[in-house]
Amino acid sequence: MGRIQLKSVTKSFGDVQVIPPLDLTIEDGEFTVFVGPSGCGKSTLLRLIAGLEDITSGSIDIDGSDATDVPPAKRGLAMVFQSYALYPHMTVRKNIAFPLRMAKLDQVEIDKRVEGAASVLNLTDYLDRRPGQLSGGQRQRVAIGRAIVREPAAFLFDEPLSNLDAALRVGMRLEISELHERLATTMIYVTHDQVEAMTMADKIVVLQAGVIEQVGSPLELYRTPRNLFVAGFIGSPKMNFIEGPEAAKHGAQTIGIRPEHIAVSETEGEWSGIVSVSEHLGSDTFFHVHETGLAETITVRADGEVGFRHGDRIHLTPRVDVIHRFDAQGLRIE
């Protein structure tokens, strides 16, 4: 099936090493998300797995056999590109059928599989249109359709939702998750959006500058980030980092407190400060608080009903049991 194993894989472009030796195992049927800021090497890593880039050293195993020198078409992987990469001169039907035609399947089988994929993806009415006549979400589904008809060992998604508007993105996110539940095939998904990572993944791989910072389930990463980078990257709004004497009180170089782990009060609390900006989302309210006696501006999440405004004095109390402590190297202290 679709177990993918990377063994001390490296990648250099000229003299620049973009991926230092990296080991990673993706289990069969797992939905793995590569997440990181732009330029962290996550797309490169995906292209290495796909075979679109050659690895500089190391090896890639797919299904237990060495696939390092196997050309992309023979790896049994299907990829959905950021630009969808549909063939503009072919109808939707021909687009979806293309990999099957290349595999020289007979026409009856091709038709059966294309119809099947189209009904799964609600594309039956659009089979005779061209990609240019479809909306962004429909094009996305055609690209997914082209991937699923091949019945691949694993799906590779390269930021597939970044060209869609916000509402459509939430919808497609659900559709991809549902597809994964139904097909139970390995999926590797690259994104820079931590919300997508948190909501979809079985396993998140956080990357920075080609280095894996942490691998784990979404909640593991949220609850026990291994270092400052992961702590800051996972969770929205971003975790508050506090240095100096306040951190020293907890025996750490830096302490991190998530905005949702700070209680807000009008009258009393450990810290008191002035609200500089309050963002009312309806369900939640975010306060950016300064002049607390700490060097940093503190972000706090409160209930949607809490109605402080700019310039109000409020009192904050962090929950002591969920304070994250980090040492001078930025690593977590247990």
């Binding site: 075979g51 050309p71 992309p72 078409a73 590109f81 630009s83 990469a85 063939y87 503009p88 990999p99």
Partner: protein, 288 residues
Amino acid sequence: MATQHSRSVARLMMAPAVVLLLGWMLVPLTMTLYFSFKKYLPLRGGDLGWVGFDNYVRFVSSSSFWPAVQATLMIVGGVLVITVMLGILLAMLLDQPMWGQGVVRILVIAPFFVMPTVSALVWKNMFMDPVNGLLAHLWRFFGAEPISWLSEASMTSIIMIVSWQWLPFATLILLTAIQSLDSEQLEAAEMDGAPVLKRFYHIILPHLSRAITIVILIQTIFLLSIFAEIFVTTGGAFGTRTLTYLIFQRVLESQNVGLGSAGGVYAIILANIVAIFLMRIVGKNLDA
């Protein structure tokens, strides 16, 4: 923006250009039509009055008419096939990242800057001369008898010269088209299991179809009227007399303006027939 007022002003301001262009087209066309119905021999009596369709009948019934049409179509067809095919190959080659790309591209475009008369003379004297030409030396180097290109293989020679001139144009247009191809499409096709040749056939060629259409249309228009290349090489001998050249001979060598004008009208009709054919075959590529 487009109010009633601004539109009428726009029309007014465009009028001089439109009138000028219309005159530019209509005056020669009317004069050609006018002379085609006259017996007009400048050195042998001048204007000898109206003759009806006499010139048209004589031009077509001349023994050199059909060979001229054939020669024209052969040159146009031959040059189109060579330039489009080599143009696609060269464009794909030039699209590859390589050292000195900018210089190589300018070198490839260079033949287009050479005047037709000059390039034909260069080919005639430097390459195709049966005694001192480079090709003759090459033939002798391999122990073969040099070919006197322009008399023994006249049509091939002219097609070679004209193709050399027009290849840069085709390459340039096709290169820009290839550069606009989304590389993710090729990668997707690669992942879908299409080997190199199938990727060319299913992805690159359809992507180029519009550019190929444009190359064919523009080149046909210009190739129907090539003249200098024939004038300085074979002078219309050895079966290389095209329709354009035949008209030239009728008007200037035989000093028969009426007959030449009738030929000119035929040339207009031929060009339009070719244009209609092309539009029907490839025109649908332009709408898409």
